[in-house]
C-alpha cells in the first residue's frame, strides 16, 4: 500500500516491468552510473570512493567501470573538497562529492554555506553552482558521538542550498538523479542504516522531484511527518497502531529544503493531529520547523491536540547500544506517543 502511493506519484506505470529489487546503496550506485554514462560532466569524488568502493560500499565498482579520472580518490581534506566541488560546478562540471560521514561536513561548512549557497545570489544571478554532496548520516551503528549526527537541519536553514533525505532505494536513486540535474547545490543526507535495506527500483533513469513530500500511508486519525529512517519507523508504527484501531497517515518529507508545506498542511487539516518524528536533536531540529508551519496557519486552531515532536535526545549520541537506541525515536516510541496523543491524556 505505501509503495502503491509512492509509485503512483513518482514512477510512471510504463516502467513497472523494469523494476527490480535493489538495496539503497545499489540504487544510489545505479543512479551515479546512469548519470555518468549520460553526461561526461558528471564525476564522483571523495575519500575512499575509488578502489575501496566507498566507506559504505556505495560507489562499489564504479572506479573500475569509469576509471580514476571520474571516480576520484582524494586526500582527507573536507573543506578543500567542498571548495573543489564549487569550483568545478562553476566552470561547467557536475561534481558529486561524497563526504564520508555527514559529521565531517562540520569541516566544510565554510565552502558549503558561504560559497556554494551564496555565489549565485552574491553574483547577482550570473553564475550557478550545480553540485551534489552526498552525506551518510544518522545513528544506530555504534559509531558514537562524532560519527552519528543528524545535522540536516543546519542546511535546511541556508537559502541557496537544497536538502533531501531519501528513505527508500527508489527515492535514493530518483532524488540523486534530480539533484544532479538541478542547477543548484543539493545536499543528500543518506542514512547509514538504510544502505542495506531493499526495495523496488525502476531500471530507467527516473527522477523524484525535489521539494515534494509523499504520503506513504493514508490515514484519518493522526498525521505522522518524518523522513529517512524515521519515515520507515513511522510506517511500522502506523501498522502497529492500526491493530489498536488508530489510523495514522504517514508523510515522508523527502525534501527538507524546500519543505512541501502543502502536503503536510493538507494532511493535518484532515487528521487534526500532528506527530513529527526526526532523528536530529529535538531542539532546533527539522520538527521545530514543521510544528512552526502548522502553528502559523489557521489549522492550528482546529487541532484536536497539541503537536507532538519526537526528536533526538538533548545529548550527543552515546556509544553503548542501549543508550544509543534510547537517544533517538524508535518504532515503540512513536507507537507510545501516538497512543498517548489519541487517548488525550497529555502532559
Amino acid at each position: 500500500m505505501p509503495n502503491d502511493v509512492m509509485a503512483a506519484k513518482a514512477a510512471p506505470a510504463a516502467q513497472a516491468d523494469a523494476t527490480r529489487t535493489l538495496s539503497y546503496a545499489e540504487a544510489i550506485r545505479e543512479g551515479l552510473a546512469q548519470a555518468m554514462e549520460a553526461d561526461p560532466r558528471v564525476f564522483l569524488f571523495g575519500e575512499d570512493v575509488g578502489v575501496y568502493g566507498g566507506a559504505f560500499g556505495v560507489s562499489g565498482d564504479l572506479y573500475h567501470r569509469f576509471g580514476a579520472e571520474r571516480v576520484i580518490d582524494t586526500p582527507i581534506s573536507e573543506l578543500g573538497l567542498a571548495g573543489a566541488a564549487v569550483g568545478a560546478a562553476l566552470t561547467g562540471m557536475r561534481p558529486v562529492l561524497e563526504i564520508q560521514f555527514s559529521d565531517f561536513a562540520t569541516l566544510a561548512m565554510e565552502q558549503l554555506v558561504n560559497q556554494a549557497a551564496k555565489i549565485r545570489f552574491m553574483f547577482g544571478g550570473k553564475a550557478s553552482v550545480p553540485m551534489v554532496v552526498r552525506l551518510p548520516g544518522g545513528s544506530g551503528t555504534g559509531a558514537a558521538a562524532q560519527h552519528s549526527q543528524s545535522l540536516e537541519a543546519w542546511f535546511a536553514h541556508v537559502p541557496g542550498l537544497k536538502v533531501v533525505q531519501p528513505s527508500t532505494p527508489h527515492d535514493a536513486k530518483g532524488l540523486l538523479l534530480a539533484a544532479i540535474d538541478d542547477p543548484n547545490p543539493v545536499l543528500i543526507f543518506e542514512h547509514k542504516l538504510l544502505y542495506k535495506t531493499k526495495g523496488p527500483v525502476p531500471a530507467d533513469a527516473y527522477r523524484v522531484p525535489i521539494g515534494k513530500a509523499i504520503v506513504r500511508r493514508q490515514g484519518r486519525d493522526v498525521t505522522i511527518v518524518a523522513a529517512s529512517v524515521m519515515a520507515l519507523r513511522a510506517l511500522a508504527a502506523a501498522e502497529a497502531l492500526a491493530a489498536d484501531g488508530i489510523d495514522a497517515e504517514v508523510v515522508d518529507l523527502r525534501s527538507l529544503r524546500p519543505i512541501d508545506t502543502e502536503t503536510i498542511v493538507a494532511s493535518v487539516e484532515k487528521t487534526r493531529r500532528l506527530v513529527v518524528v526526526y532523528e536530529g536533536v529535538k531542539t532546533m531540529g527539522i520538527g521545530a520547523e514543521i510544528a512552526a508551519r502548522i502553528a502559523e496557519r489557521d489549522v492550528v486552531r482546529r487541532l484536536a491536540a497539541p503537536v507532538v515532536r519526537l526528536g533526538g535526545a538533548d545529548s550527543p549520541i552515546p556509544y553503548n547500544p542501549v543508550l544509543e537506541k534510547a537517544a533517538v525515536p524508535q518504532e515503540a516510541t512513536i507507537v507510545a506517543a501516538v497512543r498517548t496523543l489519541m487517548q488525550g491524556d497529555r502532559r
Binding site: 564525476f43 579520472e69 582524494t74 586526500p75 581534506s77 573543506l79 578543500g80 573538497l81 567542498a82 571548495g83 573543489a84 566541488a85 564549487v86 569550483g87 568545478a88 560546478a89 562553476l90 566552470t91 561547467g92 562540471m93 561534481p95 565554510e110 565552502q111 558561504n114 560559497q115 555565489i119 549565485r120 545570489f121 552574491m122 553574483f123 547577482g124 544571478g125 550570473k126 553564475a127 550557478s128 550545480p130 537559502p159 541557496g160 537544497k162 542547477p183 543548484n184
Partner: protein, 341 residues
Amino acid sequence: MTPPASATAMSQVAAAPRAELDALDDAALRDALMRMHLIRKFEETAEASYMRGLVHGTMHLSIGQEASAVGSISPLARDDYILSTHRGHGHCLAKGADPARMLAEFFGKETGYCRGRGGSMHIADVEVGNLGANGIVAGGLPIAVGVGMSIKAQKLPRVCMVFFGDGAANEGAFHESLNMASIWTLPVVFVCENNKYGMSMDIAKAMAVANVADRAAAYAMPGVVVDGNDLPAVAAASRVAVARARDGGGPTLVECKTYRLRGHSKSDRNLYRSKDEIEGWRARDPIRRLESELVATGRFDAATLATIEADAAREIERALEFAKSSPDPDPADLTRDVYAE
C-alpha cells in the same frame, strides 16, 4: 620585513637594461600602465565616494599593490580564470572589468556586476573568467582546485590563477588546496600578495618562515618570491608559472612582496605600523617606479605617460557618472536570484 633588496636596488638603477622589461613590448607596457592607473584612480574615486556617503559597508583598497595584480594577470588570456580576494579591485580591473559596472556595484546599483547584491567584496565578472572576489580569507583557494579539475577534465588549454594574502597562508584552506593542486598536477597558479600584514598582524608574528613561498616545498611545487612592486618582474614570474600550468607542469606558488598604502579597511587606525614604514613603501610606489624606468630607459616619453594617465582618469570619470545615474534594484526582487531554475 624591510622592503625587498631588489626593490630598493631597482628604484635606483631603473635605467639599467634588464630582461624582465625587455620582455614586454610597448603595447604590453602601455596596457599594463593604463591598468595600473585605472586601478589607482578607481580606488581613489571609490574612497572619495565612500567618504561622501555614496558607498556603504566597507572596502579594502589595494593602492600600492597595482603591479602585483596587473603583472600577475598580464600573461592570462580572456578565457583563463582568476579567483580574487576581499582586496580584489585590482584583479578585477586587470582581468578586464568595466570600471563603470564595478563602481555601480559599489553604489549598490542594478547595473553593477552583481546587480547591487554583492558590493566590493563579491565583485565577479564571470564573462571574462573572473570567478569573484571573496569575503572569506583563503575562500578562493579550494575553489581554484575545482576550477583546475574542471579545466583538466575538459582538456581545455586554460589556467586558473588564484590570489590570496599573506594572512590567508595560515588558513587550513591554503594547505589543503596547494596539496590537492600538486598531487593532481592542476593548471593553477597560486599568487600570494604578501603585503606584510593580515589586517594588523605582522607576517613575522603570524608565521615562522621568512617567505610564504618557502611553503611551496611542502607540496613539492615551485615557490617563487618576486618584488611585487616591480611590474616587469611580476609579469616575468607570472609568465613562467602560467606557462608551466598551461603546459601540464602543474601549479606554482608565486609570492609578490608588496605593501598596502591604505589601511586594511575603512575602519583601520594604523596602530600596528609606523608612519616611516608607510612612507618608505610609498617611495616604491609601483606606478611611479615603472614610469621612471620607462622614461629612464627611453621606452616612453613623458607625454606618452601623461596621455595614458589622462585616459585612465577619463575612464574613471565616466564610471562615476554611470554609477551615480544608474537605477537601484527593486526590493521586490529580493529573493529572485537565490536559486537557479
